[in-house]
């Protein structure tokens, strides 16, 4: 009874604290750490240090030794000065959300962050960690910015996955104080539906004649150049052209699609929403692997048959966000 009440109080306190942090450090794509956002407190080593100072003070008093007094006070004031230095090490650091890689449920997703230094100061011994992920350490010395990749297992459900608040901390220079901030980078990762195999695909419909030439990225027959579009593979960028000052172009390859297929929401009558999406996902991946053209027809969206990396992502994204609010992100 009391246990439940305690849990209730703890949960309420946590909730209140969470709301306070949300107000204080609102979600943003780029966060610059400043006095509103930085917390500082002695860590274990710092408390141990203070304990040592107390023992030293006792020695100074008992031996009536002025220089021992002096040393004890010097170390104590060093601790005070360290508060400013520890704080300054984190202050002014900007953390910018760059990119989050989509993933299938339970897989590791990669968050890419950019750390940017303040004008005059290096930031040393930074430690970044999402709840549940392995920490990453970094230092910005003599460079403007630094890109970091953090890996984190995603949730089990499709849609946008919010990793929670990123903890940024540092105890440089003396390690006696821990200086930290929790920031919400507003950087969700897309989680695709879990692919689920089904024995066969009912009602396959071919609309394109066999043997038509279809542009497929990733195949090996060179076809021509075209302007860069977002989502194009970096491997296909025509770097030589870029070096000559031309526009950013990609090499275009062609393959010949055998046939194209429509993946339709109505192919799996009588199944639940998630199951339908999982089956559609499975087949989309399968056709993609075969290099086939495929289109997607969902109640709220229709994607015409196509193939390639970009098309696959569009299809998977549509599947992941089906029926989710904020699908337009």
């Amino acid at each position: 009874m009391t246990g439940a009440a305690e849990v209730g109080i703890a949960a309420r306190a946590r909730g209140r604290f969470q709301r306070w942090v949300d107000r204080r450090i609102p979600p943003a794509r780029a966060v610059t750490l400043n006095q509103r956002r930085i917390f500082i407190f002695p860590n274990k080593a710092g408390l141990f240090f203070i304990l040592c100072l107390l023992v030293m003070l006792l020695a100074a008093i008992n031996f009536q030794n002025n220089l021992s007094y002096g040393l004890t006070f010097l170390l104590f004031t060093l601790f005070i000065i360290a508060i400013l230095h520890t704080y300054a090490n984190l202050s002014g650091l900007t953390i910018r959300a760059v990119h989050a890689t989509p993933a299938f449920p339970g897989q590791q997703t990669e968050f890419e962050l950019q750390l940017e230094r303040s004008r005059r100061r290096d930031h040393i011994g930074l430690r970044l960690q999402w709840p549940g992920s392995a920490p990453v350490t970094a230092s910005i010395v003599d460079e403007g910015a630094l890109r970091l990749q953090l890996h984190l297992p995603t949730g089990r459900t499709r849609g946008w996955y919010y990793p929670g608040r990123l903890q940024v901390e540092s105890s440089y220079p003396l390690g006696l104080l821990r200086c930290w901030s929790w920031i919400d980078l507003d950087l969700p990762a897309l989680v695709y539906p879990q692919p689920l195999a089904s024995p066969d695909l009912p009602g396959l419909s071919a609309e394109t004649p066999d043997g038509a030439a279809v542009a497929v990225e990733g195949s090996d027959d060179f076809y021509g150049f075209r302007d860069y579009r977002q989502g194009d593979s970096l491997r296909q960028i025509y770097w030589k052209g870029l070096a000559r000052g031309q526009n950013l172009q990609v090499k275009h390859y062609a393959a010949y699609a055998d046939h194209s297929v429509w993946l339709d929401w109505e192919m799996f009558p009588g199944l639940g929403v998630e199951q339908r999406l999982s089956h559609l996902c499975y087949w989309a991946l399968r056709f993609d692997a075969q290099g086939d053209e495929y289109g997607l027809r969902l109640p709220d969206i229709t994607l015409p048959p196509d193939c390639g990396e970009r098309h696959r992502e569009e299809v998977l994204r549509a599947l992941a966000l089906h029926g989710k609010p904020g699908a337009q992100r």
């Binding site: 002025n66 021992s68 005059r120 390690g175």
Partner: protein
């Protein structure tokens, strides 16, 4: 082990450096094998780093710890007391290096390092030692800083400069605390330095003891007179009064040897004109007596007057000790001699030195007054071929003074004082030996008198009716130069002055530069001792009242807060002044500004969206600005991938500015 817990190579280098500088000031006090332990520990750790050796396992560690205890026990014959404790602490410090695998081990090691610095101050408060210790504080802090720079695998001075800056910033705050922190008495008794050898004069004096002491060039104490410095021949610093002769050894009376009724000194009837006022800072002696000129009084707490007009301190002098004295050199001391005192000052061991006593009695027989006897004995020293030397021959165990007076006739001050007092007592004149220092070097830099160990001296006091105790220095009869000019001049022909200390700067006094430096440093030491070492609750109160008038808790708090703010605010400002977000190329900054403007109009750029794609989307959403958006984006792309010319950049800046 987690990566962040690893000790960067640079930190390891700084830890090993500080390990050795920490033990340096202790080195002279430690058995040699402890230094060996340091070398082996450092080598072992470096080999571990290189992957050749491994960390010791627990049986090895246990053996090492037991061996260390045994070694300390053997070297010091005890585990209790300051020296064995410090030796154990230092060995633990070296051993901890062998356990240094993670960051938390390093914390223990480095905090232990701060402790080691503190223990050094319990032994020495010398200015140079303190400077070395300050360097050690910076070095340990450097290691701490290096520990928190992950992945620094090359030797780097940056942690050192960071640590120096921090220690320098902390120093003024430390001074405020140092002067304001209330000084309270010891909370419980602490182990004293049982192993520390006593220095300077000893409680007992045999012929040959003072001449031993006179080989040392160390400073015994420094004196600052309030007025003029009296002439050299008047500077007889009394330390011990030796009234008892047993088996050829002179010694002072203990407190309980004196009857209770005579434990307070007799006040002189007339003290004479205005006293000499001076303060003395003594180097630690591990003894209880203080030095002062004749008829000294001190109002300092914890200083007592002994019945033979000496100053004593009940607590052993373990650190530099400052005390203030007033002296009346012309006062007549102990006008009436009690029976007990007369008996004590006339006592001689049965049957010793028969020839000397015989000679004394014959001189007394021809004299009318005790003063004539004194003159007669002094005349003996002047007329006979007595030699004043720092290298007297060894005297036999039996009747040594007979051998000195009639055979060898070569002696140092204690020989003459001892022989003189024995003859006086034999002739019926109360007399005693006084041990202390005579003379001193005047430092022209700050007008202090530096008294060295080689100024150690022994002379006599005789009691004469109507005049009380009178100082007689038989050495002056033999070698007047000793009293007028000092030991060096007196021994000029012998060349034995400081023969054992070839490196003492005192030997090179003839070289002007060295002498000037030596005196300057000595003046600095005096200043250091009187300000820092001699700082106590009394001087603290005095100083605070002098600076701030009546002192109370409110002023105290204001003073601490005010002075700290004076330091912390500038430091904080220099560190934390709000800086513009970050360093991006000007071009990118302008482009981001462009994106911000569009975002306000409702078109936010998606993460990783290419400028061209973003422009296309923005054109669709904001057809009114389509031309401007295209122009800016094209310019940006050109500038981003071609050389950035200032003119083009300015054009770009203007375009972004004009976007509305």
């Amino acid at each position: 082990m987690k990566a962040e817990q690893q000790i960067p190579r640079n930190a390891l280098v700084w830890i090993v450096i500080s390990l050795f500088t920490l033990v340096l000031p202790h080195a002279a006090r430690l058995p040699a094998w402890v230094l060996g332990v340091y070398g082996i520990a450092a080598l072992w750790r470096v080999m571990v780093y290189r992957g050749r050796w491994s960390f010791p396992r627990w049986p090895v560690k246990l053996t090492l710890v037991l061996a260390a205890f045994a070694g300390v026990l053997l070297s010091f014959r005890s585990l209790i007391g300051l020296e064995p404790t410090v030796a154990l602490l230092l060995i633990a410090f070296a051993f901890k290096l062998l356990e240094l695998a993670e960051r938390k081990d390093a914390y223990v090691l480095l905090f232990l390092g701060y402790f080691v610095i503190l223990t050094e101050f319990l032994f020495s408060q010398d200015l140079l030692i303190v400077l070395l210790c300050l360097l050690n504080v910076i070095l340990v802090t450097t290691a701490l800083v290096a520990l928190h720079r992950p992945g620094e695998d090359r030797f780097s001075m940056q942690p050192f400069s960071k640590a120096s800056v921090m220690v320098l910033q902390a120093a003024p705050l430390m001074l405020v605390l140092f002067f304001l922190f209330p000084r309270i008495g010891p909370l419980w008794t602490v182990p004293i330095k049982s192993q520390q050898a006593t220095t300077g004069m000893s409680e007992f004096m045999k012929p040959g003891d003072v001449s031993q002491l006179s080989r040392s060039g160390e400073v015994a104490f420094r004196v600052a007179f309030e007025g003029d410095i009296p002439p050299q021949s008047q500077l007889y610093w009394r330390g011990l009064v030796m009234s008892r002769l047993r088996q050829g050894t002179w010694s002072a009376l203990n407190y309980y040897d004196v009857p209770a009724s005579e434990r307070r000194p007799q006040e002189p009837v007339t003290a004479g004109p205005a006293p000499l006022r001076y303060s003395i800072i003594m180097e630690p002696t591990q003894q209880r007596w203080l030095y002062s000129l004749r008829y000294a009084r001190s109002n300092d707490p914890g200083i007592l007057s002994a019945p033979d007009y000496r100053l004593v301190r009940p607590v052993v002098i373990e650190d530099d000790f400052l005390y203030r004295v007033s002296s009346w050199p012309d006062a007549a001391l102990e006008n009436t001699l009690s029976d007990w005192r007369r008996l004590t000052e006339l006592a001689l061991p049965q049957g010793s030195n028969p020839r000397a006593r015989q000679l004394a009695r014959s001189i007394a027989a021809g004299a009318e007054t005790p003063a004539d006897i004194v003159a007669g004995v002094l005349a003996l020293f002047t007329e006979q071929p007595f030699v004043y030397t720092l290298q007297p021959p060894l005297l036999p165990e039996d009747n040594p003074m007979d051998a000195f007076l009639f055979d060898t006739r070569r002696g140092f001050c204690e020989h003459y004082a001892s022989a003189f007092v024995i003859m006086m007592r034999a002739a019926g004149v109360p007399a005693r030996v006084v041990a202390g220092y005579q003379g001193g070097e005047v430092n022209p830099v700050n007008r202090t008198v530096i008294v060295h160990q080689f100024d150690a001296h022994a002379w006599a006091e005789v009691w004469l009716e109507g005049r009380g105790w009178v100082r007689v220095d038989p050495t002056a009869a033999v070698s007047p130069e000793r009293i007028e000019l000092g030991l060096e001049q007196a021994l000029a022909s012998e060349g034995s002055f400081l023969a054992d200390s070839p490196l003492s700067p005192l030997r090179y006094r003839r070289i002007d530069l060295i002498n000037k430096l030596r005196l300057r440093y000595d003046a600095l030491t005096y200043r250091w001792q009187s300000w820092v070492v001699g700082f106590n609750a009394d001087t603290q109160m005095q100083l605070l009242q002098q600076w701030f008038g009546e002192f109370n808790a409110r002023k105290f708090a204001l003073l601490i807060l005010g002075s700290w703010a004076l330091v912390l605010i500038p430091v904080g400002l220099s560190l934390l002044v709000r800086r513009r977000t970050h360093e991006v190329r000007k071009l990118d900054r302008l482009y981001l500004k462009f994106c911000d403007k569009l975002e306000k109009m409702g078109v936010a750029r998606e993460p990783g969206e290419a400028p061209a794609a973003y422009a296309a989307r923005a054109r669709r959403a904001l057809p009114r600005l389509a031309a401007q958006i295209t122009a800016i984006t094209t310019l940006y792309q050109q500038l981003a991938y071609a050389d950035t010319e200032q003119a083009a950049l300015d054009k770009f800046a203007a375009a972004v500015r004009n976007l509305n």
